[in-house]
Symmetry: C2
Subunit: 123 residues, 2 copies
DNA sequence: TTACTATATTGCTATACTGCGATATAGTCA
DNA sequence: TGACTATATCGCAGTATAGCAATATAGTAA
């Protein structure tokens, strides 16, 4: 996830080829989702809102790391933060991410199946 | 995109919480898609197969960089390579990626709209 | 073979990121 | 106020990556 590279091509004419700025936004979202620890946190949060401490327990990640990744997820607009007394409660804000993951899972699974089939054919 | 971290949790019982290995595979795919230059190449290839030289022209990236990114995209199983005489022709193999990008675009656009609306309310 | 074109790879620098321990900050309770 | 808990941030070491120029490789044509 590189946040520079703000170039621009002078394309107009609607949307099909996606403007450079959009492209960059898409790349950034993918970048946020490209880290195992963050996906793990999202997956845990899918079951419902949790505090940082609870996330630390369930994820088995260090507190500092969980806090940092939560900050990144929040900056990306993927999760929400709510202060509850002493604690911070995080929750999913963009359920879209789960659709993305499912799509990828199907794609990856299909690919793996195809590769296996190809191997079987060549064996 | 970190390719290590091959841990495993002993979950069974179907699919909902996604196994660690799957999670890692998803993260890797997202990692490949998290670079502007690669998305740009994919977008250009969406119109049809092209040689490296043509991609260099249309993308305005350097040849070495295009070649490197093509290699990464191919390793990820997203594009295919075919040798045609002197040249290498690359084509999309996993159209899934465009679904992903569209989903993200919609999500990002919606988010932007919501943010703008929120700003308007608070102004 | 040589000259030429197209693509891939290597070595490099700069940058960015993760995960860590230590520490700072914020909120609660007495 | 002080002691305590929960969360955020800082500084660091290690690692990964992009993009570049230069070079190597492969294929074509003479």
């Amino acid at each position: 996830m590189n946040v520079k590279n703000k170039s621009r091509n002078g394309r107009s004419g609607g949307h099909p080829p996606l403007e450079a700025a959009q492209l960059q936004a898409v790349a950034e979202l993918f970048g946020v989702l490209s880290e195992g620890s963050r996906l793990r946190i999202l997956q845990i949060l899918q079951a419902g809102p949790l505090s940082v401490g609870e996330l630390v327990e369930q994820s088995r990640l260090k507190q500092a790391n969980v806090s940092k990744q939560l900050g990144i997820l929040q900056s990306a607009g993927i999760i929400d933060r709510r202060q509850d007394g002493n604690r911070a409660i995080y929750s999913i804000k963009l359920p879209l991410v789960f659709e993305l993951c499912e799509l990828v899972c199907h794609g990856v699974a299909k690919q793996a199946a195809e590769r296996a089939a190809a191997l079987a054919r060549n064996a």
